[in-house]
Amino acid sequence: MKLPEKVITFVDEVKGEVSFNTKEFADFVILKADGVPTYYLANVIDDALQQVNYVIRGEEHLSNTPKQIVIYEALGFMPPKFAHLPLIMNPNGKKMSKRDTNIGCILVYQFKEAGFLPQAILNFIALVGRNPGTNQDVFTLDGLVEAFGMDRVQKANAVYDFQRALRFNGEYIKAMSDEAFVDAVQTYLREYG
């Protein structure tokens, strides 16, 4: 697809106003020789036909956005709102991957095996890359929903802090009733021995 020469500006819900000059990009392929569409085209058509009006995705897609806006406009579709979330980095400052096995639990089954409570995992994940805007950081599900807003998502990349997950879990365990605690421990030990 040949890109028109222009500056494309859009308001990202996290990053604010973002501009790209199409001179920075080469013309790009939207349909391969075998007739299979590339990600740029397929993604736009899927989203447009499904009336997706809000795209929330990782920051690595930010530079795809101007190309997709050109496709939206060329096809006569209204581009959706975009929000590009910061990446989660491991403590060494590299983009986190599932091969990061030495930084604590990262996969759901690892959290379960280690004996994390679902609400503690939720609380932890909900605050990775997001600042609730208060000193409070232990939230109920309703509290998380209430405190959520795209304006609270931080622009800088987030660091995965497993110690924080442990702290949350400790807080949740401490707050359990004795009965709930005994039930949770016995269920855990029955499952994992």
């Binding site: 442990l166 005994v182 021995g193």
Partner: protein
């Protein structure tokens, strides 16, 4: 091991025992898995190497310690649940040692070995 302990617990109906230890444990755990590390001794009698507990040179023999630990346990049982705190326990054990003309090491050292 824990699956067996749970089976025994279920058949003997000692849910109350679990409830009794719960308040002391739940404030110390960051994960449920840590229950295994912190709480085995509530359910399994630990074995302690004898040379860590008995020492002839200090006149800490099986008979002597057997008698005095029974005495310490007897006194500890006089502490009501509300008073079961570090300072009160320490005070009680030290009082026992003094009243029986023992040296600290004759009771505290084997106690430490047994409890660790």
């Amino acid at each position: 091991m824990w699956k067996e302990i749970l089976e025994v617990s279920a058949s003997s109906g000692d849910y109350a025992y679990w409830l009794q230890i719960a308040p002391y444990i739940k404030v110390r755990l960051q994960t449920l898995a840590q229950f295994r590390d912190h709480c085995t001794y509530f359910f399994v009698t630990p074995s302690v190497p004898e040379d860590l507990v008995y020492r002839e040179k200090m006149q800490v023999t099986k008979d002597m310690l057997g008698e005095h630990l029974q005495g310490v346990i007897h006194d500890l049982e006089s502490l009501v649940a509300d008073s079961w705190a570090e300072d009160a326990i320490k005070e009680l054990i030290m009082a026992y040692i003094q009243s029986h003309n023992l040296k600290n090491g004759q009771i505290l050292r084997p106690l430490r070995a047994i409890l660790t």
